[in-house]
Amino acid sequence: MSSYDGKKLGRLHRHLHSHLPSDPELRVKALESLAVEKGLVAQETIDTWIEMYSEKVGPMRGAQVVARSWTDPAFRERLLADAGQAIKEFGYEGHATEHLKAVENTSDTHNLVTCTLCSCYPFALLGMSPLWYRSQAYRARAVREPREVLKEFGVTLPATAQIRVWDSTAELRYLVVPQRPAGTEGWDEDALARLVTRNSMIGTDRDLRVT
């Protein structure tokens, strides 16, 4: 049974931090070895999971969803109404996507996603989060000075455009739907998906380049 005692966990953290070897690799190895020895997980499962996250799960999933919303008006409506449900059409559901919300950029508005209290992210849809998303600097600054943050990512917004910064404080997760770039009329979903960058779906990229 769990103690549900945060201070006790804090003491365990301190004890582990001072008694485990300081090399991060050895720390993870200690956990993995014991979990395998105890029959909680098979080492091969860890390897397969890593392969899955490197080959099957990543920003290309979100890009596909965005591209379909550009080409299929009915899907776009379903996505905006309940994104968590809509991505199940692709089989892209998984951890942290059941309560997904899609927020669309327009010429006057821009959306930026963060999680100031930890680092919530729609993993099953976008893959592992970029390190900057989990950084203390991004978490501290995105909510307070989003325009400065966007400048560091090379994005400059008109002064009159509104930025909405979404802080993922509950179990809702956010997918930014960037604007479809001009000059892509008639492109198919796969071609469009290749234009959608990971950062554009978090909000630290805006004008997609037609390549």
């Binding site: 365990l12 953290h13 485990l20 499962t45 099957k56 970029p130 909405r164 910064v165 802080d167």
Partner: protein, 214 residues
């Protein structure tokens, strides 16, 4: 809690390293996979978060991201009685009740990933206190336990822009109590939160107990 994790709006953090990849080291990948594949026991996601929040401030700010996860995974297993402290420090299991776990193939891991899709909605017996368009004010009293109202949004007025029905309430969940509260998205102007002249806003997902009518 007003712990080291409550970073929103804090000053003194410099440039963002925008080029770092999601994983830099193999052990980071392994920790990520471990966290998602080892049975988590009875804990709630919010008690898991609360474990990290209770790290020493300096350790929280200096330890690598996945090492915080690693220490937290171990601390939770010990707290639940799945591991003992001796076992993790020596690497030698004192008891082994289960047979080795069967490996999952790619289809198996993909299926587990999809099965990780957890629904946090709850049925509510009481009607919501607020509706979209209502003006609300957040509480301005610190909470020692786990809570999801960041300090930067305390004591401020905003507008409800969405009601999501009942969702499992994080503050209670971190104490092992599975009950829902009405969840809303509340939009605050940058002028209100930061004294900013920009036309921007901050949107937060907040449970009803955090809010009073403005």
């Amino acid at each position: 809690m007003d712990g080291p994790h409550d970073l929103g709006g804090k000053d003194g953090f410099g440039a963002i390293d925008i080029d770092a990849p999601p994983f830099r080291e193999d052990w980071e990948r392994r920790q990520w996979a471990l966290s998602k594949n080892v049975p988590s026991g009875p804990n709630t996601i919010d008690f898991w978060r609360h474990g990290i929040e209770n790290m020493d401030h300096a350790a929280y700010l200096t330890q690598p991201y996945f090492i915080k996860w690693c220490l937290n995974e171990i601390a939770h297993r010990i707290d639940q009685g799945m591991f003992t402290m001796d076992e993790i420090l020596t690497g030698i299991p004192e008891s082994r009740t289960d047979p080795p776990a069967s490996p999952l193939d790619m289809e198996g891991t993909l299926a587990r990933l999809r099965a990780n899709n957890v629904d946090f909605r709850t049925q509510m017996a009481t009607p919501p206190a607020f509706s979209p368009g209502d003006r609300v004010r957040t509480l301005n009293t610190p909470v020692s336990g786990h809570t999801r109202l960041p300090s930067y949004a305390r004591g401020h007025e905003g507008t409800v822009i969405a009601h999501h029905g009942g969702h499992l309430y994080a503050d209670a969940g971190a104490q092992g109590e599975h009950r829902g509260e009405h969840l809303y998205t509340v939009e605050f102007t940058a002028a209100e939160l930061w004294g900013s002249d920009d036309p921007d806003s901050n949107c937060l997902d907040l449970w009803e107990p955090y809010l009073v009518r403005a």
